[in-house]
Symmetry: C2
Subunit: 130 residues, 2 copies
DNA sequence: CCAGCGTTTGACAACGGTTATCACGACTCC
DNA sequence: GGAGTCGTGATAACCGTTGTCAAACGCTGG
């Protein structure tokens, strides 16, 4: 049975405020910074259980680090992420969904899943220059 | 300057034989097993340099492990991978390329890159049952 | 309100994949 | 053949993440 603790609500509230994908360690630091004492292990556990429940989305960075974000929509969708500032736009692409299913079926594969993530530089970051 | 050593050619030859995505550690074991003494660090280094040169493709598994594979085509493409046996089909999708570029541009993002990977169960594995 | 009990927490250790270190060996060019 | 360069490999360090376990906590029924 799931219990509501101070730590758990601190994490969910923080996620509600933060727009972009953040690592577990960043979230831990933020919580510490705002006076909410919390253990790192607890942050990981909480994020994991939220992810399992589909409450947050998980993204793997190029070097294997996991990033978390609370998304607007709970249904299946993808992301367009700024490589500079992490700003994120939620995307849904009926086009690619059907494309993925067709390609899989064409090669005799079943139970197709797909990972689609777009990365770019957002307008604001592009304006700032290097 | 790149030098051709016994270890380097052992890795590239092994990659030429192996069809599916393998982890650095698996490749290391294979090399050891076939009598080719080689250090783990060297395997990592070699794979990294091959990946930098676009000679092999790198795939990140769900838990952050890196998998390597020597692909037929050097141009940009994607993969359909069997989640059971690792069998891989190379895919190119003009559809998704243009879709990705359009979606990015529509949100003011520039220098769009995309990650698209399909996972499924191949016909052979599906036939075997659980 | 309180006691009891199962859950959650958190400091810390352990883990697993990857990368850095550095002494040694191999190769190259003169 | 000697000097300088580059590659190797055992080992240690790294870093994100997960396991451990006693203590603290939240809930529930009395």
């Amino acid at each position: 049975m799931q219990r509501m603790t101070r730590q758990r609500s601190a994490v969910t509230e923080l996620l509600a405020d933060v727009e972009d994908f953040r690592s577990a360690q960043q979230l831990h630091e933020l919580l510490r910074g705002q006076g909410n004492g919390i253990g790192l292990a607890t942050v990981y556990r909480t994020l994991q259980s939220l992810a399992d429940g589909g409450e947050v989305d998980v993204l793997r960075t190029g070097d294997g680090e996991a990033l978390y974000r609370r998304c607007e929509r709970r249904e299946h969708h993808h992301h367009l992420v700024c490589r500079r500032c992490g700003a994120t736009v939620e995307i849904d692409g009926p086009t690619v969904e059907t494309w993925a299913a067709q390609v899989g079926a064409a090669h005799g594969f079943t139970e197709i899943e797909h990972t689609i993530e777009l990365t770019g530089t957002c307008a604001r970051c592009a304006a700032e220059g290097p």
